[in-house]
Symmetry: C2
C-alpha cells in the first residue's frame, strides 16, 4: 500500500488516540475549572480529525487503493474500513456537523437542568431539536427507507432494523414471563450492604488483583477512579480503565472493574500488525460490549469464579463478611429483581430496559411518537415489561445520558453484546473443555487467550456478526443467551424457566 | 480583528495545550510500554501544529492585520507575537525539521548509552550531528553574524550574545571570589539527612499546604509526582506541577514544589482576555524562570519564610526534627558548597554552572572548540570557576539532558531568571513595605498579587526585558542579584563579601 495512504491512516489513529487521552483526562484528573478549556481543545482536535478524514486526497488515495492489485487481505480490509468511515463523514454537511455539536451541548445542559427539576418538559425542546438534526443526519448518511438504519450503522455496521427488531422482540417476549417466574419465586436474599463498611483501599487492591488475574497488562494500561466507570486510552499499549469505589458496597468496584477489563482486554489484544491502522478497532459496539458482558456476567457472576474468589474477598473484608458464606454471597450477586434504573439492573431484566429504549427511539426517529407523550410511553412500557413505574422522570425517561446528546441508535448494541457474549461463551466451553475447572482454580488466562485469538487479534478484519459466525458457527441469535439464563437461574431458583 | 485569524490563533493554542497534556501524561501516568505510541502521537500533533502555523493563509491574514487600523494594543501584540513565531517556523525547511527530529531522538539515545558507559565519546558523533543541524537552523532563522543569537531568540526573544556575554562574564568574575570566601569560612552545617526518615505522605501534605498558601489554585491546576519535577498543563485554568518526594530528604519535595509553583502561578495568572491567544504566554524562558527562582530562593530560602514554616515542618516530622531548631534548619537550606551537579547546587554557585555551559555552547555553535576537547574544556572550567573536578563524564559534561536533544541556547535563560528574580523582588520590597513581615506571618498572597498584576497578567504583551524595566525601572542587571547575595550570605556567614 501507498506509503502516503498508510501515513494518513496512522495520523488519523494518532488523533483518535489523543482524543482518547483528552477525554480520559477530562473524566479523571482535569481540574474543576478547566472544563470549558478542555471542551475547546477537544473540539479543535475533532475538527482536525474531521478535516483530515474528509480531505479529497484521502478519498482519491482510498479509491486508487481499492482497485489496486497486490494488496494483502489486511490492507484491503484497512481500505474498506476507512473508506466506509470516510464516506459517512463526507456525507454530512459542515453546517449540520456544527448544528449537531451545538444541539448536543445544549441538550446536555437542558438534560441536567431537567434532572434537577425532575421534569422532562424542561428537556423536551432540546431533544426535539436533536431529533430533527439526527433525522437529517440519517438522511445524509443514506438508508433504504428506515432512517434508524442510518444511525445504527455508526455503532453496529451492517445491522438493520429489519433484522434487529424480530430478535429483540422475541427476546423481550421470552424474558417477560421468565422475570415473572423469578420474581414470584420465594427466595431469601441476605442483606450485605446494610451499613457495613468495606475498606476502600482493600477494594482497590482487590480490583488490581482481579485485573492481574484477568491478564490485563498494567504495563500497557492503567486503572484510575472516575464517577462513571469507562474504558478509554490512546493505543493498544495504553488502555485506560476506570472503576468506582463505594465504601458501602464492594460489588460496584468489583463488577465495574471486571466489565471494563473485558473492554480493555479487547483493546490490548489488537494485533501489533494493526497498530495505528483502521483495523486496530472493534467492528462494532455490540461486539465490544460482548467482551465486557462475557467477563462481567458469564464469568464474573458465575459459581466457579466465586468458588475461587470468595475466600479471597473474605480475607479482604474480614469484618463485613465474617458471617457470610459463598452460598449467600453468590445469591446476592445473582439477585433478579425488576427495577427502575438500567445500569443497576441484573442480567435477566437488563434487556427489558433496552427494549423500552430501542422501541421508543425507533418511534422517535420515525416521527411516530409525539415528544410530549414520551414520558408516558416510557412509563407504560416499564409497567408492561417490568411491572414497575418510575415515580418521576429522573428515574424514568431522564435517567440515561445517551439521548441528552442525541445518541440514538446506541442502546440496542447493549443487547447485541449480551446475545453475542452468551454465544461466544458457549463456543469457548466447547473448545476449552476444562473451562469451568480453570475458573474454579482462578485460571482466567486460557479463556482470555481463546478470546484474544478468536476475537481481539482479529480487530476490524470482519464485520461483527461475520466474526461471531466464524467463531461460533452461527450469527446473531438469542438462543444461547436464553438457554444460559434458563439453565443458570432455573438451577439457582430451583424452578423451571 | 478578523474572526478567521482569531479562530486560527485559538486553534494553535488548543494544539499547544494538547501537546502539553500528552507531554505531562508521558511523565506522570503513561504505562511503561506506551512510550513509542506516545512518541508517534506527539509527533503527529507537532506536525499538525507546524502545518497550521506555516499555512500561507495565516501569513496573509497576519500581514493584513499588521497594517489594519483600529486594532487594540492587545490585538496588535497578538499579531506581532504570532508573526514572529510563524516567521521563524517558516524559515526552517521541512527536510531540516525532519533531520533535527531524527537527530534529537538519536541524540537522546546516544546520551543515555554514553551515561551508562560513563564515556562522552559514545555521545560525541550524535552531538556532532546535532551541532551541524542547529548551526544550519540558526542560519535559516537568520542572525547578524552570531549564529548563537538565532537559537537564543527561540528562548529569550530580543536577547543577543553581545549583550549577554558581558553581563554573565561580570557575574562570573564577581561570584568566583565570593564562593571562595564562603567556602573558606568556618561554619558548622548540621547533618539532617543522615539516615533520618521523613514520612512521604507528610511531605506530600506539606507541599499541598504550601501550594495553597502560595495562592496556587488547585481547582485550576494540580500537583502529581514525577522523577524530574516540571510545570506543564494545557491552559491557564489547567496548570500541572509535579514534585519529587525523597524519603530521606524533604527539601527535594519542598523546593521542587515552591519552584514549580512559581512557574505555575505565572501560567495561572494570565489574563482571561488573553486565553487561547498568543498573549497567554511568558515573553521569555528567562522571565518564566525568574518567577520560579523568586519563590524558591528569594522567598523560600529566606529567614522570614522559615520563621513561619519551620514550626509547621517540625509538626509534620516530629521525630526527625525533634532536636533541630530554626537556626540550624535555616543554615542547612542556605549551605553554599561548590559541587559537581547543577541541579543540586545552591543559589550562589548555580550561575557558575551556567557560565561553564554558556561559554562552551557558544564556542560549539561558533565551531571554535573541537568536540573531542569538550570534556576536558568542561572539566577545566569547573576547576577554574568552582574548584571541583568531575571524576567522570556522567558527573561532568554528560549530566544535563539539554544538549542530548540539541537544546543549545537555553542554559543562559536560567541565569537571566536569577538576575531578573532579584531585581523583581527588590522592586516588590519597595512597593510592599511590609513584605518581610507578611512572609514572617505566612502571608504570601500580597506578593503573589503584586507579581500577578505586574508580570503574570501582562503575558506576552512586552518582551521580557521591557517588562522588567516597566516594573523595576531598569533592564537586565546583575547588581540586584549580587547585592542580594552579598547582604544575605555576608550576614549568614558573618563575613564581608
Amino acid at each position: 500500500m501507498d506509503t502516503w495512504l498508510l501515513s494518513r491512516m496512522q495520523e488519523l489513529k494518532d488523533l483518535q488516540g489523543l482524543i482518547g487521552l483528552a477525554t480520559w483526562d477530562q473524566e479523571t484528573y482535569l481540574p474543576a475549572k478547566a472544563g470549558p478549556a478542555r471542551a475547546h481543545q477537544l473540539s479543535t482536535l475533532q475538527g482536525i480529525h474531521h478535516e483530515r478524514l474528509v480531505d479529497p486526497r484521502l478519498g482519491d488515495a482510498l479509491a486508487r487503493a481499492a482497485t489496486e492489485a497486490g494488496l494483502s487481505d489486511d490492507e484491503r480490509a484497512m481500505v474498506t474500513v476507512l473508506q466506509r468511515e470516510r464516506e459517512r463523514e463526507v456525507r454530512v454537511p459542515a453546517a449540520l456537523v456544527r448544528a449537531l455539536a451545538e444541539a448536543q451541548s445544549h441538550g446536555l445542559h437542558a438534560w441536567r437542568e431537567a434532572r434537577k427539576e425532575r421534569r422532562f418538559a424542561r428537556f423536551q425542546p432540546a431533544l426535539q431539536r436533536l431529533l430533527e438534526l439526527r433525522r437529517e443526519q440519517a438522511d445524509a448518511y443514506g438508508h433504504d427507507g428506515e432512517r434508524y438504519d442510518g444511525l445504527l450503522e455508526g455503532y453496529e455496521p451492517g445491522m438493520r432494523v429489519s433484522r434487529l427488531t424480530p430478535v429483540l422482540t422475541t427476546l423481550r417476549e421470552q424474558l417477560i414471563p421468565m422475570v415473572g417466574k423469578l420474581t414470584g419465586a420465594k427466595r431469601q436474599v441476605p442483606a450485605l450492604f446494610d451499613g457495613r463498611r468495606y475498606d476502600k483501599d482493600a477494594q482497590w487492591r482487590f480490583t488490581l488483583r482481579l485485573l492481574g488475574d484477568l491478564g490485563f497488562d498494567l504495563e500497557a494500561g492503567r486503572q484510575d477512579l472516575s464517577i462513571h466507570p469507562f474504558t478509554g486510552g490512546t493505543h493498544a499499549l495504553d488502555v485506560r480503565l476506570t472503576t468506582h469505589v463505594d465504601e458501602s458496597n464492594p460489588l460496584s468496584a468489583i463488577f465495574s472493574t471486571i466489565h471494563e477489563a473485558g473492554h480493555g482486554l479487547f483493546e490490548q489484544g489488537f494485533s501489533p500488525e494493526h497498530y495505528r491502522t483502521p483495523l486496530a478497532a472493534s467492528p462494532s459496539m455490540g461486539l465490544h460490549e460482548s467482551q465486557s458482558r462475557l467477563w462481567e456476567n458469564l464469568v464474573g457472576r458465575g459459581r466457579p469464579f466465586w468458588e475461587h474468589y470468595f475466600p479471597l474477598l473474605r480475607e479482604s473484608f474480614p469484618d463485613a463478611l465474617a458471617q457470610v458464606d459463598l452460598e449467600a454471597f453468590h445469591t446476592v450477586v445473582n439477585d433478579v429483581r425488576p427495577s427502575l434504573i438500567r445500569t443497576e439492573s441484573d442480567e435477566v431484566t437488563y434487556n427489558l430496559h433496552i427494549a423500552v429504549r430501542y422501541e421508543l427511539e425507533l418511534l422517535l426517529i420515525r416521527d411516530e411518537l409525539p415528544l410530549e407523550e414520551l414520558p408516558a410511553a416510557w412509563n407504560a412500557r416499564m409497567e408492561r415489561y417490568l411491572g414497575v413505574t418510575p415515580p418521576d422522570d429522573t428515574q424514568g425517561v431522564l435517567q440515561d445520558i445517551h439521548w441528552a446528546w442525541g445518541e440514538l441508535g446506541y442502546f440496542p448494541t447493549y443487547s447485541l453484546g449480551n446475545l453475542y457474549s452468551a454465544s461466544l461463551y458457549r463456543a469457548a466451553g466447547r473448545e476449552l473443555p476444562d473451562l469451568e475447572g480453570q475458573l474454579r482454580r482462578g485460571q482466567m488466562l486460557p479463556l482470555r487467550d481463546w478470546l484474544r485469538e478468536r476475537i481481539h487479534r482479529q480487530g476490524f478484519r470482519l464485520p461483527a456478526e461475520e466474526r461471531v459466525r466464524e467463531v461460533t458457527g452461527q450469527g446473531l441469535t438469542d438462543a444461547d443467551f436464553l438457554g444460559y439464563l434458563r439453565a443458570k437461574y432455573g438451577a439457582l431458583y430451583g424452578i423451571s424457566l
